[in-house]
Amino acid sequence: MDDHGSTGILLWTREAHGATILPGGSDRNCQMNRVEIFKGWCKKCGICVAFCPRGVLTTGDDGFPKVSNPDACTGCRWCELRCPDFAIVVQKDEHTDNA
Amino acid sequence: MSTQTTPERVLLQGSEACVRGALAAGCRFYAGYPITPATEIMELMSRMLPQAGGVFIQMEDEIAGIGATIGGSLGGLKAMTATSGPGFSLMQEHISFAAMAEVPCVIVNVMRGGPSTGLPTRPMQGDVMQARWGAHGDHPILVVAPSSAYEFFDLTVKAFNLAERYRSPVIVLADEIVAHTRESVVLPPLAEIEIEDRVKPTVPPEWYSPYRDPGTGIPPMAAFGEGYRFHVTGLMHDINGFPTQRQDETQELMMRLFNKISKDFHLLQWYDSYYDEGAEITVIAYGSVARSALRAVKMARDKGLPVGLLKLKMLWPFMRRTVMQYLESSRKVIVAEMNMGQLSREVKRVNQGKCEVLTLNKIDGQMITPSEILAKVEEALA
């Protein structure tokens, strides 16, 4: 489990914007939208997995959500909006948006 | 509002004097609920505060009254509310909040008679201990007690000064006689009235810790909405105002709350003494009883009896060192009060056998008369 301490916000930001997270182990270059999960804040409630309209997310063996089907992500951001813990974010692919 | 530059002689009811004192002290916020015998204070505030550019609001109950008062103070205004026993009981939780969050505010309690609804238009002094211990949790409190319309003016001004200086709730404990008696009062020129304002932070907002001890025990207080974003809570908190359960931080906060006032005990000895030269017997009284006591002592002196009066104007913190002097210099003291012995317990506590402590108690809703006190004095001398 990640650090729960008061540096949480900094950790989030570093990981979310840095290259340390590879969602679901997939090849980032292939996906249009990037779904990132910050396990340090995630409480495994399962809401993001259950209500993703396109089945992008599944629950991993460790109980955390996992990006299993990245190509299906439409960037609707429902997972992000409904997350009670600010632990998931959809980085929209600018290129796709413009296309 | 009066803006006189010379002393002004006016006929004032105690409640009016209180309102004038509050306005002179800079009070610009009042929130309260009607209750006998304190309603006059609210009514007069509703008329005078808007004229002074202040805010008056009648709330839905006394809990709301003091809640809004604390809110007004957190918003940067000098704020007060007034009530009587039943409302004072309702306010206790928020007095505790104001002590914990260190929000300056003034609460006037015009004591009525008896427990519960009791005697709404009659005097007693039954809330002395409640004013000290009524709110939950261990915390200091400041309580002043006027005995005349002038003192109601003067002590209300000073109550605001104390509240602002110590960031503490301050209670003005008046009784029905003091609040309703109309008498001639000489009000000082406004410019001569000493006014204290809360210390505001001078550091930039990003450096501000709302509960950091600057060395005086009293942290500078920013108002909400002036660029200092901070957190205020009734939970035990650290120097940044955030909740904490850490033993060291809890201990530090609690000790600071007590020490900020106890370090100044020597400045908080507010009393008047009369005829104390050679007094074998000292009458100790406060509130309207002190008026009867003064008359009684004069009558006794006319008879050649060695009697003096110690009138307490500050009840809490209890003026141990002042009272001690009189306990040491007198053979007997008589504590006269309109209850079954509340302040007399404190006198006995500090007495420790120095002299004999007698009590004169009355709880029938009538004032203690000078002749009753004189009779007690004569009995004590016999």
Partner: protein, 273 residues
């Protein structure tokens, strides 16, 4: 709409411990996000937001946010907020309360704030139970439900908080669920813009207690229940009382105009000065 990391960076207090205090799947966390997004969308300065809470799970919300924040006593948040609003009228005052906080111990303050039309936005997180103290019946707990304090079934009938504040004179009343997050963002934004006493009743799952008492199950099941049982206000008008049983009527229920307390008070200032 800004990305979550940007919002976190801008609005959450970096000195606070995260993850926050609430249970997994708690609706208050979702509300926290909605509130931040609505404030951001509204373009308010952080210095001008005054966030006040009472006691209970919802009472812990303000401390996480980098605004002017005040955590008051149980049920009395509106009284403190009233004082602050009158002392500092430029502040956008937002009060967050739970259902017990707002409609039980603070019920009197709620209706009188609505009657007075004080310019405050009140968000009531309704999870139909006392969460912080361990699952006792609240004024919005359904009739018959066995709770920690009604082991033989709740004998009382629940308040409809939105109807209560409507009757008391609130100028804006909306109800939403945390499942309908975009709608929630929207109505909070509308409530913030509204002058006068505005109320947003947010149906939020308490997984730990309400979920346990009702046997609703997981956070996901509770969210699904919200999804299946929410009825838009417009549609609800055409439904019978029977059909509306156990439904959540959502949307903007009241939106009227009325002078605020502060406007009236300012008029008195002008007249008597």
């Amino acid at each position: 709409m800004k990305q979550t990391p940007q919002l976190i960076h801008r609005y959450l207090r970096s000195s606070k411990r995260f993850p926050h205090v609430w249970c997994p799947g708690c609706g208050i966390g979702i509300l926290l996000g909605a509130l931040v997004r609505a404030i951001d969308e509204g373009g308010y300065s952080k210095d001008d937001i005054m966030l006040v809470s009472g006691i209970g799970c919802s009472g812990r919300l303000p401390v996480y946010l980098d605004f002017n924040t005040l955590h008051t006593t149980h049920g009395r948040a509106l009284t403190f907020a009233t004082g602050i609003k009158l002392a500092k009228p430029h502040l956008k005052v937002i009060v967050v309360m739970g259902d017990g906080d707002a409609s039980s111990i603070g019920g009197n303050h709620l209706i009188h704030s609505a009657r007075r039309n004080i310019d405050i936005t009140t968000i009531i997180v309704n999870n139909q139970i006392y969460g912080m103290t361990g699952g006792q019946a609240s004024p919005t707990t359904p009739f018959g439900l066995a709770t920690a304090s009604s082991p033989y079934g709740h004998l009382e009938h629940p308040f409809d908080i939105s109807k209560l504040v409507e009757a008391a004179g609130a100028v804006f009343v909306a109800r939403s669920t945390v499942y309908h997050t975009k709608a929630l963002d929207r109505v909070i934004g509308q409530a913030l813009k509204k002058k006068g006493f505005s109320v947003v009743e947010v149906m939020a799952p308490c997984v730990t207690h309400f979920g346990k008492m009702t046997g609703m199950g997981s956070p996901v099941d509770m969210m699904r229940w919200q999804k299946d049982n929410a009825v838009p206000f417009e549609k609800a008008r055409e439904m019978s009382a029977e059909e509306l049983q156990n439904k959540i009527v959502t949307g903007v229920l009241v939106d009227i105009g009325k002078p605020t307390f502060h406007e009236e008070h300012a008029r008195i200032w002008r007249e008597v000065k």
